[in-house]
């Protein structure tokens, strides 16, 4: 008998006959979907999570973003080759630079330049202030993973009310990676003092479009 069989023998003995497992999710518990404007709620929760939300007229948002990136010392804008929305925003930011554009592998190798990573979000969650990114369809997660600043491009129509809605698409066959990103990388491991940029981005920016 191998270890696994032996484990299941122990578990079955311990569980005994306890009737069938509950087949449907138990009712109750989930907060009712928030009333009103999901985008407005997202703006509130994302900000509470330490993120910065930019919305409104594109020109204004771009110039604000450019200034924000410069003040963070960003010199390189990194976007995935196949992410049209990210490319569009990154390219539009060049005049606010000086910024170099890159889709490149050098970022992965640990670029010395301060980098902003751009990526289109798959969804956003109003309840928690969360950007949803997944590896579905061969998409990369690097912009929000290794860059110093993460810029998410969020279509307003992609904002869902609660986590339930965001996960509904993945109950059958999820991609390798589903990531909920809520604000910058944080730590309070030293004297419980909240500090950003432990491993991931020091700044998380969401640019609301559409």
């Amino acid at each position: 008998m191998n270890e696994r069989e032996s484990l299941f023998r122990r578990l079955s003995a311990a569980c005994g006959e306890r009737g069938a497992a509950v087949e449907e999710p138990l009712p109750g518990g989930a907060p009712t979907a928030p009333e009103g404007d999901r985008v407005a709620l997202f703006a509130k929760t994302f900000t509470a999570a330490g993120g910065v939300l930019l919305r409104g007229p594109v020109e204004k948002a771009l110039s604000d973003l450019g200034e924000m990136l410069r003040s963070e010392g960003v010199t390189a804008l990194f976007f995935p080759e196949d992410d049209a929305a990210a490319r569009e925003i990154a390219e539009a930011l060049v005049p606010f630079g000086p910024f170099n554009l890159t889709t490149g592998a050098e970022v992965r190798g640990g670029s010395a330049a301060v980098t902003a990573g751009f990526r289109a979000a798959e969804a956003a969650i109003a309840e928690t202030g969360t950007i949803v990114e997944t590896s579905a369809g061969g998409k990369t997660l690097l912009p929000g993973l290794i860059a110093d600043v993460h810029v998410s491009i969020v279509p307003a129509a992609s904002v869902v009310a609660r986590m339930e809605e965001a996960l509904a698409a993945f109950t059958e066959d999820p991609p390798r990676n589903i990531s909920f990103l809520s604000g910058p990388s944080k730590t309070a491991d030293i004297e419980q003092t909240l500090t950003v940029g432990a491993h991931g981005p020091k700044k998380a920016i969401a640019l609301m479009v559409g």
Partner: protein
């Protein structure tokens, strides 16, 4: 991890005298709790969510064989290689074999309490693998050669001055008392490790049965890096971490960060399922999952089953005045605070940790905050009773209890003793408190007075007043 739980009393006394520790606890104590209370108050559905989570976990434990089998089937379908370890020795052996077969020389690890149970790092190091802890707190204590003292804030006992000293000594960084600078130093050092490690090691907060997914919740992003960048991902997870469905995950995600740190959600939740798919630009080529029994199936069988509902949020630690007084190391093993006082004896055997269930005033603060409603004080009482039944109590305590019960059997005898004590007490203390008592009461009178017994107990007074003759 080395077990030293029965030395709780000695460990605690040492902790109380440790000025640095007391200062660290003083700087942090209560903050978690205050944040948690505020976050809970802001979610009107918190109680309903808690109830639901407790019921889901109850259902899982009642049918753990079914749910775990489903999980394994789904995980394997998606390329995860599932291993099962009965005990710590087996877990170490399997981990070392995985590292050897995958040709790993450097592994980056994110926080995993389960891995501490089996002394995971030592096992890999024994197999020639360098293991770097990547959670900032774990990284700090790894440099210091210590064990975690808190489930979610492992270096809560270290001051910034101590940390800067460690970074100077081990990383060659200049001294600083700026916390952001310290964080930056660790980031730089660990980023290089993430980019070169062959294997990322993680724990797992939840295992989703209907999809075979492993869910990781972190704030720093280390769990995310370690499961995206290295070629191999190894998750070390206890078998009780299964939840039935993806649809149940939000319930737990609402409870865990709120209970742990008072956040609405942690910065990062990674739901990882199997290996990288065809066409994925990154992600591990190999995914191993090491499932730990290590005493869990035995717990499942008995009256403490519900302790396996625990989601390791540490709210019970943060609420516990005993934990706040002595910190986590006093508990002498991986888990501390109320959860440690119950779980440690159950995992390592009561004879090895009988001191822990006594390390509580039964104030009940832990049960108030537990997000899955584990009756921790009831379990502490139950374990104390088990200790008596297993012959783990001192003959002195048993004799004292027998004597005391003997007196209490007869009101007349009690009254006679009270009157003698009253006369003696009043004579020696002149109605003031007693400042020195013999063992086992000597601890009390070290820094507190003990009241003198009344000259005339109430029973006697009542009899006189109401003219009762017998």
């Amino acid at each position: 991890m080395e077990l030293n739980a029965n030395a709780f009393g000695r460990n605690a006394r040492k902790a109380l005298l440790d000025k640095t520790l007391q200062e660290a606890l003083g700087r942090t104590t209560g903050r978690f709790q205050a944040h948690r209370d505020a976050a809970v108050a802001a979610l009107p559905e918190f109680e309903a969510t808690r109830e639901r989570a407790s019921r889901i976990k109850g259902d899982v434990l009642d049918h753990l064989d079914t749910y775990l089998a489903r999980f394994i089937e789904e995980a394997e379908k998606r390329g995860t290689i599932v291993h099962v370890a009965r005990d710590a020795a087996q877990a170490r052996e399997i981990a070392a074999r995985i590292a050897w077969e995958e040709g790993i020389t450097l592994a980056v690890k994110s926080k995993s309490m389960a891995s501490e149970e089996v002394s995971f790092n030592e096992a890999l190091q024994g197999a020639g693998v360098t293991v770097v802890e990547s959670d900032l707190g774990e990284f700090i204590i790894q440099l210091a050669g210590e064990a975690p003292s808190h489930i979610i804030a492992p270096a809560v006992h270290k001051t910034r001055e101590e940390i800067s000293l460690l970074f100077e000594r081990h990383l060659g960084e200049p001294r600083t008392d700026s916390i952001p600078e310290l964080v930056g130093m660790a980031r730089k050092h660990l980023r290089a490790k993430f980019l070169s490690a062959g294997m990322g090691v993680s724990g797992g907060n939840f295992l989703v049965a209907d999809t075979g997914s492993v869910v990781l919740v972190t704030n720093e992003g280390n769990g995310r890096m370690g499961t995206v960048l290295p070629r191999v991902h190894l998750a070390v997870v206890g078998i009780e971490k299964v939840i039935p469905r993806m649809a149940d995950l939000p319930t737990f995600l609402r409870l865990l960060p709120r209970s742990a740190s008072g956040q609405v959600i942690s910065s990062y939740v990674s739901i990882v399922t199997g290996t990288r798919r065809a066409g994925d630009p990154e992600g591990p080529e190999r995914m191993h999952l090491l499932l730990l029994d290590c005493g869990r199936s035995a717990i499942l069988e008995g009256k403490y089953r519900e302790i396996l509902k625990c989601i390791r949020c540490a709210a019970c630690l943060n609420s516990c005045p005993v934990y706040q007084s002595v910190g986590g190391h006093a508990y002498g093993w991986v888990y501390s605070g109320p959860i440690g006082a119950v779980l440690t004896p159950l995992l390592v055997g009561l004879p090895e940790a009988a001191a822990l269930p006594d390390a509580s005033t039964l104030c009940g603060a832990c049960a108030d905050v537990c997000p899955v409603k584990i009756p921790l004080p009831d379990f502490l009482l139950e374990l104390r009773s088990d200790a008596r039944e297993q012959g783990l109590k001192t003959p002195g305590e048993i004799a004292a209890m027998k004597g005391y019960a003997g007196v209490m059997k007869r009101a007349g005898l009690l009254e006679a003793i009270e009157r003698i004590a009253g006369v003696l007490g009043q004579f020696f203390t002149k109605g003031k408190g007693i400042s020195g008592l013999p063992y086992p009461f000597s601890g009390w009178t070290e820094r507190r007075d003990f009241p003198a017994p009344a000259a005339e107990p109430f029973r006697k007074q009542w009899k006189i007043k109401r003219g009762v003759t017998r």
